[in-house]
Amino acid sequence: MSATQPVLEARGLVKRFGQVAALDGADLVLHAGEILAVIGDNGAGKSTLIRCLSGATQPDAGQIDVDGRPIRFDSPRDARAAGIECCYQDLALSPALNVAENFFLGRELRRGGVAGALLRRLDQPLMVERAAANLTALQVSLPSLAVRVEALSGGQRQCVAVARAAAFARHVVILDEPTAALGVRESGMVLDLVRRIRDRGLGVILISHNMPQVFALADRVHVARLGRRIALLDPRECSMSDAVAMMTGATAA
């Protein structure tokens, strides 16, 4: 493991739902400029881990450090303020709103002067311009930013959601199954985008069930099982079947 300061580190996270411990002392380390894949069977605690790191759920115990400083997230807003953006599976966008509105959803830009301060008027041209600039920088091409998101293809939608996360993240982008609902070509589009995000120097956490994808993309692989991290693998030094065996408990880590 590298000696540099991790951009995100979680230690001993515990989260119980009644008698069930979804997280039972989970650890996670993420460095800037790397893609960390998180794999695990259903019920391994991947989702809960991600939700804790993105502020959507609050852990019962454990510590989260961002850039070496301990931090506590009471809501997704707090995590966003700390520079962590999450792109949730299926829930990322509002289909009835257009691309620019979705891009700035929850952090809209207002006009200057009286119109903005008193009349709370949004600066829609500026939001369209900034959204376009961000999408262009990430090489996401769309017919128009004024179309409702529901008019886009699945791949385009996912690209908008991922690009939004990347555009606002200062430290970490968390992607929950970004290609689960996509075809081969569209998945490729999203995965290229994920690489570009890493190359910008952000830390990327990628949750995926797709092993070939994980092994093609990830710099390190975090294997979750029964609410803990049971292994941290280098995809160049182990095989997919090894990883699957660990994740299902067929072999001990």
Partner: protein, 320 residues
């Protein structure tokens, strides 16, 4: 047949309600020579000014994927409070007006709190507050009509002349309310959040929007609009009537749906809502002019509301 109508509906978007309104006007213009006179059109506006404000409020709620069944009855209660405070308590008209609006905002906020905080279904919550508002109206009035109202309370019903037509003062007020509501929905973050919460509440929450605040805002603002509607209602009828608001209740939902706002939330506009309001008003007025009895008019609105929901593209998408 339905398929073709749906395609047309989707292509027309928010122009659909406006087109339907135009078609209804042309049809009644042909059927009755009186219909397209300026004075009659001014009368249509006067007849829908109360309904219009209720529809504006109802649209806010429906955009959040909710529904407010209490709308007309809260309006009735607010107008009765205005009447009782002014007439029986003998307080100044301004106090009466504010008391009525405050009661309406209170009911709206109560609906909003129950929906947002307790996560109760809007249908049931507002069914409850409908009954509460109705009973309170009867209780505070002793089921009596109050007719001796101070003039400022009935001012909205007085008319001014515009191009030879007599237009009630409440009409520009209603149009202003729609314009403001349109601005808020389109041009402010609060308005976009109303759409976002109705469209996909979980996505909105994860985007850092407080869905509770948005819901509370929508229901409370709706209450405020019902409160202003109550004042217009005093102007329109000249009295505080314990059985007011009953027809407005269903008419409001009909107008919202005819206006192209999806009952599944997120999609719709105030422009459409205004068109929907006018469609209801034109139908009532036009059918009366050609001599259709009021029961058939109710029947007709019933058929229309079902038809409008059937043409909601969102409904078809979900049913698939």
């Amino acid at each position: 047949m339905l398929g073709r109508a749906l395609k047309l509906r989707e292509r027309l978007g928010s122009l659909g309600p406006v087109a339907a309104l135009g078609a209804a006007c042309v049809a009644f213009g042909v059927l009755s020579p009186q219909f397209l006179t300026l004075d009659n059109l001014a009368l249509v506006l006067q007849q829908v000014m109360v309904l219009g404000l209720i529809v504006a409020g109802q649209t806010l709620v429906v955009l959040t994927a909710g529904i407010d069944l209490s709308c007309g009855l809260v309006m009735a209660l607010a107008s009765m409070v205005m009447g009782v405070v002014a007439f029986e308590a003998g307080l100044p008209w301004s106090v009466a007006l504010l008391a009525g609006i405050a009661v309406a905002v209170g009911f709206g906020s109560l609906n909003g709190l129950l929906v947002a905080r307790m996560r109760l279904p809007p249908f049931i919550v507002t069914l409850g507050t409908w009954n509460i508002a109705f009973a309170l109206t009867q209780l505070v009035s002793g089921s009596r009509t109050i007719s001796d109202l101070p003039r400022p309370l009935t001012l909205a019903g007085e008319t001014f002349t515009l191009g030879g037509a007599h237009v009630a003062w409440g009409v520009p007020l209603m149009l202003a309310a729609f314009a403001i509501a349109h601005y808020v929905l389109r041009q402010t973050a609060a308005g976009r959040h109303v759409h976002a919460v109705g469209d996909n509440a979980e996505a909105a929450r994860l985007a850092g929007i407080s869905t509770r605040r948005v819901l509370l805002f929508a229901y409370a603002a709706a209450g405020a609009l019902y409160g202003v509607a109550a004042w217009l209602s005093l102007g329109r009828t000249g009295v505080a009537e314990p059985n007011a608001g009953q027809t407005e209740n269903l008419d409001a939902i009909t107008a919202v749906v005819l206006g192209g706002t999806s009952l599944f939330g997120g999609r719709g506009s105030m422009l459409g809502a205004l068109a929907g309001t006018l469609i209801v008003g034109v139908l009532r007025n036009g059918l009366t002019l050609i001599g259709v009895s009021s029961l058939y008019q109710v029947l007709c609105t019933g058929v229309l509301v079902i038809l409008a929901v059937a043409l909601d593209p969102q409904a078809r998408r979900l049913a698939r």
